[in-house]
């Protein structure tokens, strides 16, 4: 029963992380598209404009990508579990010897 509870809790945590990432990514896209429009449509003047919005897209983008990686690749804590298992196996082996 406690195992089921733990799994439920983990599933809840994973779903929350994924939804948080989706919200983050959508707000990123909306803001970046808005800034790109402002950069290229507002303050119309002759000559090409400097694309300052790319700096925001780059800087914030790194943050969003890290959020993506944590939400989808290391989502279940499986990496921690695997590492913990390996450490346990090592301990057992050293105990045997």
């Amino acid at each position: 029963m406690s195992d089921l509870n733990a799994k439920l809790e983990l599933a809840h945590k994973i779903a929350e992380r994924k939804l948080a990432f989706i919200r983050h990514a959508i707000s990123y896209l909306v803001v970046i598209i808005g800034l790109a429009i402002i950069n290229n449509l507002a303050y119309q003047s002759e000559g090409p404009r400097y694309q300052w919005w790319l700096w925001v897209a780059f800087g914030w983008g790194i943050g969003v990508v890290s959020h993506f990686l944590s939400a989808f690749l290391y989502q279940s804590g499986s990496l921690v579990e695997k590492m913990a298992k390996r450490e346990l196996e090592k301990m057992n082996e050293s105990d045997k010897t």
Partner: protein, 301 residues
């Protein structure tokens, strides 16, 4: 084999993640102008919110160029975008075009050049850009010396200042900029406009036209021909005019929220809160000045 089925939320999340990764990679390529894997350009010219990082191969560029153009020109046209325009007189028989090109780096400097062309008796000096989407371009400032015989100066800039000084009298001038200021002396039949900059002038002749949106207008009228007109208008700036003592004109001064005053003896035909209409002398010319939130003052020189 145990396969995990992806839910629609997973698919949406992964799609968004991939899109963001592509945007980040694209922005890096655009910012570094595709040179991030080129060893020679391992430190590209970057311009960020903090200013600029100097490139080991160069960095900011400043190029000065002097060109003399011979010919019997009666009209000079100068067009710049962000650079300033300065026009003065010269005793030499040819037009001297001194241009200063500035850019953050050589690549940007290559995108802009000076074009000088003759169109009959008109000489056109122009800043030309070759637009490349992600690369900021340089700017060119002009200093043009004009010889005797020129009858019209036509200067335009988008964000640069325009200055005309030490020119011979009797030259008509048409000067316009959007966010720069305009300053001229000895203008004959002047037309000056700026959207957010200040206009300063000394004028004579039959026609004076000065327009600004948020800048003030500050000028001196040395003479105004009979039948001539002076029109000065701004939205949020003030108008200050020093006129020659023998001014002979019908005047119409109106401000929405500012003060209106005139030092000349005026035969008033209409005077309300911020409005003054009347006549100075016989009313041979017309002086019309208007503003929304600034004041208007006509004083005697």
């Amino acid at each position: 084999m145990n396969r995990t089925r992806l839910s629609p939320t997973d698919i949406l999340g992964i799609t968004l993640g991939v899109i963001v990764i592509l945007i980040v990679i694209g922005s890096v390529v655009a910012i570094t102008q595709g040179r991030m894997f080129d060893i020679r350009w391992s430190m590209p010219d970057l311009r960020g919110p903090w200013g600029s990082i100097q490139h080991p191969m160069g960095g900011p560029v400043r190029e000065e160029k002097d060109e003399k153009v011979a010919g019997d020109f009666t009209e000079i046209e100068v067009r710049s975008i962000a650079g300033s325009v300065e026009i003065s007189g010269t005793s030499a028989g040819e037009v001297d075009v001194h241009s200063v090109k500035t850019a953050l780096f050589s690549n940007a400097a290559d995108n802009v050049h000076v074009e000088i062309r003759k169109e009959g008796t008109r000489l056109v000096v122009e800043e030309k850009h070759e637009p490349r989407f992600f690369i900021p371009t340089g700017t060119i400032s002009f200093q043009v010396a004009i010889p005797r015989g020129v009858k019209l100066i036509d200067a335009h800039s988008v964000s640069g200042n325009i200055t005309v000084h030490d020119v011979l009298p009797g030259i008509d001038q048409s000067l316009s900029t959007i966010s720069g200021s305009v300053s001229t002396s000895r203008a004959h039949n002047l037309s000056a406009s700026s959207t957010s900059g200040r206009i300063q002038f000394t004028s004579e002749g039959a026609s004076l036209n000065a327009r600004s949106v948020s800048g003030s207008i500050d000028g001196q009228i040395d003479s105004l021909d009979k039948g001539g007109s002076a029109r000065l208008s701004t939205i949020s700036g003030s108008v200050a005019l020093d006129a020659f003592p023998a001014l002979d004109a019908r005047i119409s001064l109106h401000s929405v929220s500012g003060n209106v005053s005139c030092d000349f003896p005026v035969t008033i035909s209409e005077q309300k809160n911020n409005r003054l209409e009347g006549q100075i002398g016989a009313g041979a010319a017309t002086v019309d000045a208007g503003t929304i939130s600034g004041s208007i003052r006509i004083s005697r020189k």
